[in-house]
């Protein structure tokens, strides 16, 4: 089992439901070759740096996954045959690379959490301040 990173570009003329469907399909393809998805990022629709199969835009998917060692060529073949994918890139990751990715993701999640908490506390303090003002006025 090794860790890999797949970046896939899907056709631009899909709607959200179709993108979800294709994500499911891609998940099943990866699990078919003895892999599991570790992390999946949907970057949404982005402008391409050059035209790919006459498309100027594309949906980017960034997937960190595992895969059985000999199965990567077969996985790439499946990507080629799936008609919604216009371009793909599969990269092998070392152990330290995947650790870095995971720690980064954990950090980002923590940050988002703390920010959410902060906004809640800020609201509370604001509310408290308002109450204080009201209290002063009544005095």
């Amino acid at each position: 089992m090794r860790n890999y990173q797949s970046i896939l570009i899907l056709k631009p003329d899909l709607d959200e439901a179709q993108v979800e469907q294709s994500i499911e399909k891609i998940t099943s393809i990866i699990s078919k070759f003895g892999g599991a998805i570790l992390k999946l990022d949907n970057w949404g629709k982005k402008r391409l740096a050059y035209r790919v199969k006459k498309n100027k835009f594309g949906y980017y998917l960034n997937i960190y996954h595992t895969c059985e060692q000999g199965n990567v060529p077969a996985l790439e073949r499946e990507y080629q045959l799936y008609d919604l994918i216009i371009k793909y890139l599969v990269i092998r990751l070392e152990e330290r690379d995947i650790e870095r990715v995971m720690s980064k993701a954990a950090e980002a999640a923590e940050k988002a959490e703390s920010e959410a908490k902060e906004s809640v506390t800020a609201e509370k303090t604001e509310g408290a301040a308002k109450e204080g003002v009201v209290a002063e006025k009544t005095e």
Binding site: I7, I9, L48, A49, Y50, V52, G58, N62, K87, L89, I91, D97, R100
Partner: protein
Amino acid sequence: MKNPTKKKRNLFTQKICRFCSDKIQFIDFLDIKLLKPLISERGKIVPSRISGNCARHQRQMTEAIKRARSIALLPFSEEH
């Protein structure tokens, strides 16, 4: 009198590696903001002679740019 054919050398001499000064250990090829200043208007990779990058970071950066090109994040050449 100075030799007029001799060019001034001080034009681009900012000899500090921008990755070393920012203490970047790993150059991610998905981070286009980082890589964009290191390609020319025509999409070429700027040589370390001009950008002032150290050899190690120049190697990592070249690989990152090539990967970003192959997945259409950076151009191979200008649009035509």
